[in-house]
Amino acid sequence: MKRVGEVKSSNYLVAKFEDLVDWAVNSSRANSLWPMPFGTACCAIEFMATAASRYDFARFGMERQAFSPRQADVLICAGRLPFKLAPVIRRIYDQMPQPKWVISMGACASTGGVFDNYAMVQGIDTIVPVDVYVPGCPPRPEGLLYGILLLHKKIKGESLFDAVKRREEQPLDEKGLRLAPETIDEISEPFGNSVHQFRSA
């Protein structure tokens, strides 16, 4: 190892330039997440409670709720998603600028919940990529806050310089699907109590 010069002071730090940039970018992204609320059911009530003064997610940088996808960073789907709304949430997601994240709030948004029927999407991850799933029916505001903090953690682990950790646009394929048909069928399979209901019944 070659000495490059005499260091007079001990007050210095060596780091990779990439890490510095990632730290700066990710901190500013994580600490100012503007949510786009997509409230379709009772989870939206808990979402509102999370936004209101008692829990107040403005404490975590979500000061401004963007009711337009054009100025939003994180889409929070609070409630069940019927097939009729699937193209709507997809269009809202597509309209959000990069980088963007999605929180699936509650059992119905994550899995279809109790609505294992002809009208309901069995998990919004068949429509848009989901970063954090918050379980609960509906989740308490603490649950949603925990999900938001997990998302902070996830954002801080991303990197602009690493293709694996970089956040890329995820368009639909030529069939107009996000996942392979077999995958959609597999993750939409009945589970829990609804395995006792036959598909044909």
Partner: protein, 199 residues
């Protein structure tokens, strides 16, 4: 006043509510009589719905809930439709305009057509929905198509096409819209879901 002769097939009272069964051909005439005759005056159509029973022999029923706001009286009118027969009745839209969306819902969910309805198309499911009528007993709980196909059709649907120009309240501004949007809206409900590309 006497009801139109032969119109009434059966009258029962269940839970203190009078129910009358009316022959399908005489429905419109009877409803008009119920609405306009002094002493009846059922001026408010509360709901239109339908029932299919698990027993395959039993006919489907179209149920009309009538109320007379003046007399503070309720009446249920039922029309029986044999499943082997054509599933259609006359629309009561001419008597109560409120029947518009109610009859559309029954049409959507049960596949019963209402003759004389001004705008009979699906209301809850989208226009290109191809799986059938969800509240019929022969309809599987999770639909007829696979989940993947349901997702594909949903993602390929055009959300603007669920509405007519009038419902979008932009009929007047039609000429100012961009060409492609005008075309999309004109195709409107009658759009088709694209077939999946051949592998």
């Amino acid at each position: 006043m006497i009801p139109p002769p032969g119109a009434l097939r059966e009258a029962v009272a269940r839970d203190g509510e009078p129910i009358v069964y009316v022959a399908r051909e005489r429905l419109l005439e009877t409803m008009k009589w119920l609405k306009e005759t002094p002493g009846q005056e059922f001026d408010y159509l509360v709901d239109v719905t339908a029932v299919e029973f698990r027993d395959k022999e039993r006919p489907l029923e179209v149920v009309y809930f009538l109320r007379s706001l003046k007399r503070k009286a309720d009446l249920r009118v039922k029309v029986e439709l044999q499943p082997s027969d054509e599933l259609s009745v006359d629309s009561v839209w001419g008597l109560w305009h409120g029947a518009d969306w109610l009859e559309r819902e029954v049409f959507d969910m049960f596949g019963i057509t209402f003759k004389g309805h001004p705008d009979l198309r699906r209301i809850l499911m989208w226009e290109t929905y191809a799986e059938g009528n969800p509240l019929r007993k022969n309809f599987p709980l999770r639909g007829r198509f696979s989940r993947a196909e349901q997702v594909r059709q949903a993602l390929n649907a055009n959300p603007e096409a669920h509405y007519s120009m009038e419902e979008l309240s932009i009929a007047e501004a039609s000429d100012d819209l961009p060409e492609d949007m005008r075309e999309r809206l004109k195709r409107g409900e009658r759009g088709v879901i694209p077939e999946p590309p051949n592998p």
